[in-house]
Amino acid sequence: MLFFRSVANDDATDGIDDAVCLPASSLRSVSPTSDTVVTMFFDSVKRNTDIHSDSVLMDSVALTVTQGDTFEVCNELVRIINSRPHSDGFIVIADDMTTTDSATAALANLVVPAKYAHPSITGVATITIGAATYNGRFPDFGIGNAEPTDISATELTVNTHYQSIAAATAVTIPSAAAGKAGDWITVVYDVAAGNTNAHTYTTTTDTAYALGSTIRTNRGSHADRIPLLDISEAADNVITITGATNGDGGLGTYLKFVNLTGAAQGWAAEVYVTDQGSGVTAATAAFS
């Protein structure tokens, strides 16, 4: 495990961007990012790299180094990572701490030397650990291995597939913060929405869907049905699909929700609305 600390006073060691111990096995690469900075890139601490690893960004630790010594520092990093068996495995690569902290007064505010694995390492510039977010991919239908549940005027349950009803209904979406990144919900229309019947999907706790969520409508079979695209903006927390005999709410309409952050305003939505009947009625599905 490789230890890094970027703060000078131990009383500031209170976050993962201040100090971190990372497995050498998570190291992906080491490279200069300027002529005085060598950056070590690691697999994500907080995001599961086994899930959609292609969309998970690397974490990193940037070391400040003497100009002209990037090669020597890279060489030393590899040498020290392979320094076992004469080690318990705890390897201090860079520790900027020079002032101790303790609840015992005699042990606090003592001056100690910073520690670096190589004389040409002069400090830790930054420790960058990505948040526990989900770089969203919307779920496929059918992965729940269960028959979809009818939507109703209640709060939907995460990680559940739903299907439509013809009647008007006001559906609510659970708090994003009450769940976690990666949670999902889907709704597929196997029953067309009845004429003038509105289906609303409201984030009652969150004040908005994740910015950039989309509603698209299809072209359909009638020349007058012009495809629409609505992209969510601040304060857009309602999706409305209003059934029309010759318009929105046809079979195959779907909504996909995925929780990106596990925090407020974390629900991203992808909505696709098909037509029914002749399709002559203009699409109206939109955020509000």
Binding site: K46, H52, M97, K180
Partner: protein, 127 residues
């Protein structure tokens, strides 16, 4: 041999009934050890218990000023051996047993157990 870390954050064994009460984690799945919003709390991050999108962690309460020392002790425990069966109790808050037919008996007072003198408690938190 693979090492496994054990954490339990209930005081009474009768409450040891789900993954937020206790957990065994393969050391190879640990992704980081780092402070967590305080100078006395240390997170051990590991790959999600159920392979969900974001990783899980447990939070250890540690002595102020001993963050780095506890990290070093945890890493040393990961690499200790060879005289070990691989099961490493990092932190166990249980002080009361349960089950009249259990090995330890019912309502017996036992000592909490921490791998370091500078760990004082644990909270098993999943993301």
């Amino acid at each position: 041999m693979d090492k496994y870390f054990y954490f339990r954050d209930v005081a009474d064994e009768i409450d040891d009934d789900d993954a937020s009460a206790s957990v065994v984690v393969p050391v190879k799945n640990i992704t980081a050890i780092a402070p967590h919003n305080s100078i006395t709390t240390l997170n051990v991050w590991f790959k999600n218990l159920k392979n969900e999108a974001v990783n899980d962690y447990v939070t250890l309460t540690v002595t102020r000023g001993k963050m780095k020392e506890v990290m070093a002790e945890l890493v040393s425990a990961m690499n200790s051996g060879p005289h070990s069966d691989g099961f490493v109790v990092v932190a166990d808050n249980v002080a009361t047993t349960t089950g009249s037919t259990s090995i330890q008996g019912d309502d017996v007072a036992v000592s909490t157990s921490y791998i370091s003198n500078d760990i004082t408690s644990v909270s098993v938190v999943t993301s």
